[in-house]
Amino acid sequence: MTVITHAFEALAKSEREAFGAPDHPVLIVQHPIGTVKPEEVDKRADAAFEKLVEILLVPEARKKVA
């Protein structure tokens, strides 16, 4: 799967089309990351973690990802 910030969402989706993998799951997290404080990055990672695990373990969850 691909984890990407929303600024790169269109690019990530374009890539999965280009590689013929339209169902490849793309998990979007809030942009930016590089210029936010570490504690805020931790919060975002925690928020994304559950979703990430679900996508990896539950096939149906992958279909729900945009």
Binding site: F8, A10, L11, S14, A18
Partner: protein
């Protein structure tokens, strides 16, 4: 007059230049400047200038990873305003552009917004009037302007690189419209770039390299190599990417070589002085550097040179009268593995 079978889709558009521009704009084909309509006749003229077959695939252009066929190269060449005789250069440029070492995907996708700079060497420069003299990085020469523009059109029209969505440049810079230069080999005291890279002087080549906006490195009064080169090094504060480009004007080159400096000496001299001192960095920047290059075991006393190795500074001679050289920073990350992008040189089969 078309004698070849073309694969591209045909569109009927009004025989009016402004209506044609509106059509291209609606389709998203172009760079914002008016383009030359790629009629069958014009495309056929381009194809007649190469022995390659129209359906031959020269490379895959990201982010769409679409096939850059010779036909598509011809179409984009017409759109950019290229003459048919430029075709061998355009084909070599696409070979360079799509070489995995250049890592065009990263160049397209990064917020850094670099251009792909084209450097042409060898006899083809004279034949096609590719400028390496006065205003070499500026306007005024059709070959320079349109070959550089062609590169951008390939990235967009074939590769699907659209600003804001698949091209993530925060700002970009005007070189993204076009940046193509011939090395001024006749005014250079050193061997030209392509010979340095193992080609024969009588061969012609295209070099593609990631390029950010340039910084003027003038030294109007210097009469000694050491002073001029020190001034160059001082313009190169902060690390470049995996490579850096020093465009040395003929007047500077003559003085530098006259003082006994070979091209390797120039690279070494600059490299030893173009430093990034860790003690001067803000805390966060220092911490980031330490993390990014853990292999260097950086401390506050460390000094990072502009590139990992002296030979990673490309030195070319270009320009006309005057004591004005330029330093061009190369976008990309320097890594223990050699970096996220490397310049690529390809032979022009003309």
């Amino acid at each position: 007059m078309t004698s070849v079978t073309l694969q591209a889709e045909r569109f009927e558009i009004p025989d009016d230049i402004w209506a044609a521009q509106s059509f291209f704009e609606e389709k998203g084909w172009g760079d914002g400047l008016p383009v030359i309509p790629p009629t069958e006749e014009r495309v056929a003229q381009m194809l007649a200038a190469t022995s390659c077959k129209p359906d031959e695939v020269i490379g895959l252009v990201p982010p769409r990873w679409a096939h850059a066929t010779v036909e598509k190269i011809a179409i984009n060449g017409v759109m950019a305003g290229c003459k048919p005789e430029y075709m061998p250069v355009l084909i070599a440029a696409v070979e360079a552009l799509t070489d995995p070492k250049l890592n065009l995907y990263a160049l397209q996708a990064t917020t850094g917004g670099p251009a792909v700079m084209i450097i042409v060497n060898g006899p083809v420069r004279k034949r096609l009037n590719i400028n390496g003299g006065p205003n070499a990085l500026g306007e005024g020469w059709r070959a320079n302007a349109t070959i550089g523009r062609f590169v951008q059109l390939v990235k967009r029209n074939i590769g699907g690189s659209y600003p804001g969505t698949t091209c993530k440049a925060t700002l970009g810079w005007p070189g993204k419209y076009s940046i193509c230069v011939g090395e001024n080999e006749e005014a250079s005291p050193w061997e030209p770039l392509h010979v340095e890279r193992g080609f024969k002087a009588e061969q012609s080549t295209v070099t593609a390299i990631s390029a950010d906006a340039s910084i003027r490195a003038s030294d109007l009064d210097g009469t000694k190599a050491v002073g001029i080169l020190t001034n160059f090094a001082q313009r190169m504060e902060g690390p470049s990417g995996p490579e850096a480009i020093m465009v040395i004007c003929p007047e500077h080159a003559k003085i530098i070589a006259g003082d006994g400096f070979s091209k390797k000496d120039v690279q070494k001299f600059i490299w030893e002085r173009a430093a990034y001192r860790m003690k001067d960095l803000p805390d966060e920047t220092f911490a980031q550097r330490v993390k990014r290059r853990s292999d260097l075991k950086l401390t506050r006393d460390s000094v990072i040179p502009v590139t990992d190795r002296p030979e990673d500074i490309l030195v070319i001679v270009a320009g006309g009268d005057g004591s004005q050289s330029q330093y061009i920073h190369v976008w990309g990350q320097s890594t223990p593995e050699g970096g996220s992008t490397r310049s690529v040189t390809k032979l022009i089969n003309d």
